[in-house]
Symmetry: D2
Subunit: 360 residues, 4 copies
């Protein structure tokens, strides 16, 4: 039972508000004797942080991670790793105008009704700023998995749908993903996406996105039957990310339209190796990894903070209107890519350790 903790054995707890002193993360259960430095973590932090391109929020945060514990002589010791990221560019005055109004699509209303109090500055705890802490935990998980699984291990995410614009997944190119500011896997889509997002920003509007995650080099046997299924844990992990409204494993929602023949992935022995002829299962059968690539995707709703006027009520219940200024991403889905990767890495490491526990 844990409100702000994720994981079973490799567990992390995040804390902090958007406009507080700092945010942070405590990672517990990390295996000992793994080389780990702030640099290993900063790489992923930099992929998520705002203000890097004109397509994301202009909040300027270096998102510099400091490790406060759990490392000795450059290596993990098996004790909790505490990380802190100080908030530098919080402009709370931006939020004064809306402190008494509920932003539609945000958690303002539900937080206040639940707790009877809310830190409205930048969304407080409900802000996507919390995800920086997850990325830090995910970077540790990746470092451990690289050591355990070797070079074959890889998790890569990409935006495959930007609002109304898709891309051609057949052109999936990992180098391209790392290069462009959209995490778009298909170079040919870039120009159109750029025009599209700038038009949306100019219109004071926003758009949603679909992110696809692929994990390879994952051994057979991760996951557990019934309530700790690998896919159930992935679904929980991804749905816990702000603004996520749908999660697919493999064929996902599309599986409903397939016949049994189309859907079930045939198994073959190819030169002594077990292969599957397709991957509608997304690499998970009965909640357990099959050794195939694990494929999952999730939908991020459009940013709810938009310039255009929206109807809402104030704290007293009066009808009013709201227009959210601040510095917002026209598409929060873009920066969700490293967050999704991080959550995926944490789930996979957690099940790697769990499998080691039960099955040796």
């Amino acid at each position: 039972m844990s409100f702000n903790t994720f994981g079973k054995i490799f567990r992390f707890t995040t804390w902090g508000e958007s406009h507080g002193t700092a945010i942070g993360c405590v990672v517990d259960g990390c295996p000992p004797n793994i080389y780990l430095s702030e640099k290993d973590i900063q790489i992923d932090m930099d992929r998520r942080r705002p203000g890097k391109s004109k397509f994301t929020s202009q909040r300027k945060e270096a998102d510099k991670v400091e490790i406060l514990s759990g490392i000795f002589n450059g290596k993990t010791t098996g004790t909790p790793i505490s990380m802190i990221i100080f908030n530098k560019d919080a402009r709370s005055r931006d939020y004064e105008t809306i402190k008494n109004k509920f932003r539609p699509g945000h958690a303002d209303y539900t937080y206040l009704k639940k707790y009877g109090i809310r830190d409205y500055r930048g969304g407080g705890r409900q802000s996507a700023r919390e995800t920086a802490a997850r990325v830090a935990a995910g970077a540790i998980a990746k470092t451990v998995l690289k050591k355990f699984l070797g070079k074959k291990f890889k998790i890569i995410g990409a935006v495959t749908q930007l609002g109304l614009l898709g891309c051609n997944k057949k052109n999936w190119n990992e180098k391209e993903i790392r290069k462009n500011p959209f995490f778009c896997p298909d170079k040919k889509s870039l120009k159109l996406w750029e025009k599209y997002i700038l038009a949306i920003r100019k219109a004071g509007s926003s758009c949603g996105a679909v992110i696809e995650l692929r994990a390879s080099g994952i051994p057979i046997g991760l996951g557990a039957p019934i309530y700790s299924k690998l896919d159930a844990d992935i679904a929980s992990a991804l749905m816990s990310i702000n603004a996520v409204k749908g999660v697919n494993i493999g064929a996902g929602m599309n599986a409903a339209f397939l016949s049994g023949e189309e859907n079930s992935d045939e198994i073959i022995n190819l030169s002594g190796k077990t292969k599957f002829k397709s991957n509608n299962a997304g690499g998970i059968l009965g909640g357990i990894s099959s050794g195939q690539e694990i494929i999952t995707s999730f939908a991020v709703k459009p940013t709810s903070s938009i310039l255009n006027d929206r109807m809402t009520i104030d704290k007293k219940g009066n009808n009013t209107k709201i227009s959210v200024k601040g510095r917002h991403d026209p598409c929060v889905g873009i920066r969700a890519v490293p967050i999704g990767e991080a959550m995926m890495a944490c789930v996979i490491l957690d099940h790697y350790l769990l499998n080691r526990a039960q099955c040796g």
Copy 2:
């Protein structure tokens, strides 16, 4: 951490194999002093059990629940409620022919690789027979919620997509759902669905489905930020059901295609009551219930056990073919309706109790 347990405070543990002596469920953390009888549970068991129509598996199981503990003078006592359902119509001989082959789309391969041993009879623990135990737990959760939330509380599920055939959700009719063997909410779709499923069965094939769940009468404030979000727990709950590959909350995957204006649900005061002009959020904002109807949907893949030959390998790794006879549902999605409802009820009750803990 729990492989076969679901929930945080209202927790249930299921056990049992498809062709073992029995299956069962232990419910822990149930509030005391609630009237509860086997009848309350049997109603939902009967909605899930096989052999009721020609559209589902012909396995004849009465699925009669016996309560073994936790009830005194007809009421819950706050101690664990143990329930048992004996397996009556297990025909293990049906599985002898496939004991050395891996059925594509099933967990045969991953279970054996993970554990080094598998009970192949009827799929053993990986069988959807386990879901009978969940339905029993869900029936208890519903009974408790009815007492706590009153008559406004309701959870109702329906099949809204049967393979390639949709239905008109504008015709959503709850009485209709309870009457027809498809849990279809739209009477006009029935004839076509019936023909479709019989054709699929005749062809030895199978189809998938989409199930939609609607929960009303749910108070504001259930759910918790970050890693115990109500939607994250629903996603985990539904994805843990056999054959589920995708989960949507509200607009779900479709949210990616909406603009900020279209997606964020405007809030208004209507004669002193807070209302939302739409419900793309599915009744959950920032992981916390908003008082709107909670709407979620999930996709069930087509039954993997089909008559038509499929390529696979045997335990020794040799290429071979397989055709699965047994008594299978042409569409497992149909019987997933009461299972989805049960999981939803358990998640909601769990968060009701959690909210009571933290917020009084």
Copy 3:
């Protein structure tokens, strides 16, 4: 979070009331591929069950365990092992006279105040009958540990203090423990103990006991710092047994009287092996096993059900008197020996698996 579940990875959930249909236990997280039969479990059940000698309760329960799931071809499969023990000799009429009175020293009063309802028959859930289910779980843990740790592994408990009578621990003899009905390690104490307990029974009174547990063949490194210390988990495990009021690790309460020189166990290299010159630590340093014998002891209070009149109140709050007839142990501490062993075995296996998870 779990009211009726114990453990982290190797977890068991017990259910059932003293005078209900049955009691039982679901073991989750058991490693696969371990030979396990009802016989392995029955041995320990028989050591705990009542009615075996004139020194314990005369309730006649065969305490026959049936395994309902989780075993295939004689071996564990990694899925939950459900066990059931039917209640045969429940005489609920014995309790009719006390259904409206609170027995002093029992949980009657607190259960009713907490839950607003109580199953008074035989103490319901609060009865020590629940411990039969623990012994079943412990027998499984022992079986797994024997496979993992080999023949060096052993857990043995003994009554070292029976009411006012101690015994000479220097005469500790394991064969003797298995032979006499007191689990007394010192043959020389037997005659006196026998007379003492018969006198107590005749007087309608009862006495307490101290039980000592010794576990050997335990590898270094089990346990975890801070809140999952091996000793903290042992303390919780033993204190959860009915009537236990104190727990010692190694020197225990006596450690307060020692000087630093007397207490800290010196370490020496003896022919290439690390040895400790003493064992005040009870085999646990900083919450982690040191490879020494793990030694713990716990005190069981005297049976609260005695024939002599005691002051109490009834459900309406009126002052009254009570004398508890039924069939009670003059010293519940005696039958606590196999229960303590069982809990110890579960904690050790749990930490063995946890250590495998984090440290490989």
Copy 4:
């Protein structure tokens, strides 16, 4: 499952090493809308911190707590409260001489064997410095309990045995406890205790202690049957404190020597109020609070870091001797008083919230 987290609903996670940058604590599940400031916490921090008298360690730590999150406008918001305490006076050079030797009675040996790496500076994570973080969590728990339970609520701890010297508990005086540096409840014992401890320090030795904790104003019904018994959780909480070797509830180990008549606390109605004639149960019956004062005690072993030479081995396994200089408490039990109170407060609040969840 959590190595460095304590609690079920009110949960705290601690992190940090003795000689690292800082130590800290994240409290999750705290109820919202409670006034809380750093001052409320500092009071207890000051009671625990070293360097205050000549009877404790001379390490000079202000132990100044900073709250980094979870508070808005002076009140808790229901989100995690992160607290940090920077280490100021860490003298790691003191430990250079012992970095290759295992200190007897410490966890040096077990940590290294378990993790293959250890931060030897000041004991790293195994240092009692971690307990400062618990005290911070406990101060929050006390603040919440004061709000919920009112002025009747109180938790007070005292040293009742200092090495070989007891005190007269009949002279128990709370004001006295708060005044003297020994947390001794009996003014008459002070002079002797002072002489005794100075003699021990001078001799380069150390002594153990027994601490008694009393909690009053606790409502009936806290705790839960079987594996979440209030006393089982208290036992786990206290045994998790460094150097604790024994835990008693009420009569504790002494219960073994009592007869049923002596031990079971008779219940009476006194002018309409339920009273108990004695309190051997320590305020807990069947794992549930009875409304009586909760009384528990625990034994702390003598400080293992002593000046006198002790036999040990070095990392290579060679026999050697060790004398631990540094700045150590001659009796770590003294400073264990506020730590015990803190753990007790956390357990009680946790069960208060749990009870609210299940029983409303």
